[in-house]
Amino acid sequence: MVDIDAYRERARAWLDSQAAAFGHAARRGLSVAEDLALGRRWQAAKHDAGYAGISWKKEHGGQGLGPLQKLAFEQEEMKHGFPNTYFAVSLGMPVPIMLRYLPDGWKQERARAALRGDEIWCQLFSEPAAGSDLAGLRTRATRDEATGDWIINGQKLWTTWAQHADYGVIVARTDPTVPKHKGLTYFWVDMKAPGVTVRPVKLAEGSSHVNEVFFDDVRISDAQRLGPVGGGFGVAMETLVIERYSATDPAGFGPPLALLIEQAKTDQVRGRPAIEDGRVRERVARTYAIQNGLAAIHKKSLLALEAGLQPGPEGALHKLVSVRTRQKLSEFAIDLKGVSGLRWDGDGERKDDWVASWISAPTGRIAGGADEMLLNTIAEKILGLPQDHRPDKGVPFNAIAQ
């Protein structure tokens, strides 16, 4: 307990000292390219200060510490709005998984470059017809029997930061004649290779951090394979649980409740401060109760982690509740403003602006596990309720009605 607190304290002090150079204020008005460049410098600074790869093994260039230190650092880092978003996926999943599967040498170089922000990896899983149903993916990898190489064709979608990525990990179908989970294989690819085309997808809120990625006869060697042929689904699942412990926010990465309270003291309803109105009071009180409960659940799981216990799947609960609550609260906050609520220049961030929070909330409710999938996870994994009916179960992939 004391160790973690001391670690957090040191991290906080260092982060405070960096805020002016890299934090929210330093980023205002930057173009995406400038912000990315600042981000790379920030990542290098973290690396030099011993705060990159906190929970990674030392032989991989990490700090050899545990998830608690990593979480403590992330929570403190969150407060200043540093440009770390470009590296979250890269360092969270693709690089760790390739470190597990590839032979020594090259992988250490890649890991160091990624930890310093010089290189970025992306994760090529979802497809137009395979979102929640990942195993339904259609991108093909066909073996060139002459060379043993693989030829990749197909389309990936929702690939975060693919437009800046140097490498990626990809799951592709290598055998369509077996049931869908069994015909997949996992590779890494060079995102600059011939035949790879990246096209940013503009989202409803106006930003473009996800991409379509097209593979057109992209040739890779069999040495780029991670795990056995046909074992891709397992490696993909392994990838997804690596980031099991990451910092959460009871406000669902939206504005803090205190912001609404502050506004409701000056805004008026029926000629009195809005905070006096029962409708406002109900939202404030119930949201507080939800967020306080989420924070307590999170604290409990950290304590369990610290005590060496395996925490439960409370991540699903946290994401489900926090983002949905944020969406409803943001909608209400906009409503409360009356015609003033219409104003939005697109510049606010989702952590301090109700419109920005509201307009990006639907993405939050879908990306990284849609509400419906989270409810299934809770129902099946925690409560032991039956799996949904799945008519494609056990059926060869190429026999499933598309």
């Binding site: 979608l157 409360l336 009356g338 003033s340 639907p362």
Partner: protein
């Protein structure tokens, strides 16, 4: 008047939907989102060419002499395509204000222009969050307006505004021509820019005071606006409901259409319920435009239409999964419009209060 649409009314609805579907372009509407102060001029041209601007005005002023029911049906069709201009509702409201509270000369001057669609009207009642301020900050004295009316929908392009001001004897509605010196329109960036929302500043600008108690008159106009808007909201909600239904039938996951999963299926059924309640309320209010309890019917229509459009557009986005949150999809157009229509003429709290005041007084 009956709650069942007659043949002529059904024909108006069908024709409006046909015309608009032809003219609709999601691309054009999304371009407007990124251009402050622009609206869909094609759409507005359609409104006047089709005579929609004339529908609910009296024949003696160039109107077609029909009423809220018919205008509602047209608004519903416009809502379905998230139309790119706010003027069908706001011009009608401005015209009604003139018809009800202005002198004959003003009527003769303006109503034919509204009927023909040459004039566009805007309504400016609210002071920030206060939808119907008892003491508006805008001042009218000696026939001159001074002060600012903030965030007026359509204010950036309208020809005439009806504003709620503080007169010499309390709140009063005033009619002001916007295209004159000493009127400053500052376009406001919003999350739904085709509404051409603007702050209107007046520096000693000539204006005509309308008759009657300003707050009462404003409330009357708002109720009319609420019923037209409710139809527009129902149209938008119906569009999103249909989109969600269609997507749930075609998109497959785990080997079956996602509409076979009750989480999707029942969500869409619940949305249908919201749309049908809103539709019935809107229609009921339109049919009872002259009923002594019109105010409460209008409020009921307003509340259920707002809830329906917000909820159904939110749910339709969720049903569409990743596709639903892209710029290319139309879901965000409707979510933005749902929020805009929910706010422009008074938020949920305002209308709940209006309804409860009416109910409590009667009880």
């Amino acid at each position: 008047m009956s709650l069942l649409y007659d043949e002529a009314q059904q024909q108006i609805a069908t024709e409006a939907a046909r015309v608009l579907d032809d003219a609709y372009s999601g691309e054009r509407l999304k371009a407007l989102l990124e251009a402050k102060g622009a609206y869909d001029q094609e759409f507005w041209k359609t409104c006047s060419e089709q005579g929609w601007t004339a529908v609910a005005l009296p024949e003696e002023y160039g109107g077609l002499g029909l009423g809220l029911v018919e205008l509602g049906l047209i608004a519903e069709a416009c809502g379905g395509v998230a139309c790119g201009a706010p003027f069908l509702g706001s011009s009608h409201a401005a015209a009604q204000a003139i018809l009800r509270f202005a002198g004959e000369a003003t009527k003769a001057e303006w109503l034919p222009r509204f009927a023909g669609g040459e004039a566009k009207g805007a309504i400016g009642f609210a002071d920030a969050q206060d939808m119907l301020p008892v003491a508006p900050s805008l001042q009218l004295s000696n026939g001159r307006l001074n002060g600012v009316k903030p965030a007026v929908s359509g204010g950036g392009a309208a020809d005439l505004a009806v504003v709620l001001a503080s007169g010499e004897h309390g709140p009063v509605l005033a009619l002001v021509v916007l295209d004159q010196t000493n009127v400053t329109r500052t376009l406001v960036d919003t999350f739904d820019n085709s509404r051409v929302t603007a702050d209107l500043a007046f520096d000693g600008v000539e204006a005509i005071a309308l008759s009657g108690d300003g707050l009462e008159a404003a409330r009357t106009i708002l109720c009319l606006q609420a019923v037209v808007t409710a139809h527009e909201q129902v149209g938008g909600a119906q569009k999103m409901l249909t989109a969600a239904r269609d997507y749930a039938l075609t998109r497959k996951a785990f080997g079956q259409p996602i509409g076979a999963f009750q989480s999707v299926k029942h969500r869409i059924a619940e949305d249908y319920v919201l749309v049908e309640l809103a539709r019935a309320n809107a229609q009921h209010a339109a049919v009872h435009a002259d009923h002594p309890e019109f105010g409460r019917y209008a409020a009921a229509a307003r509340l259920s239409a707002t809830e329906a459009y917000d909820t159904v557009s939110r749910d339709a986005t969720q049903v569409h999964g990743g596709i639903g949150v892209t710029w290319e999809a139309d879901m965000h157009l409707h979510q933005r419009r749902a929020r805009t229509l929910a706010i422009e003429i008074g938020n949920m709290i305002f209308w709940e209060d209006a309804l409860v005041d009416a109910l409590a007084e009667a009880a």
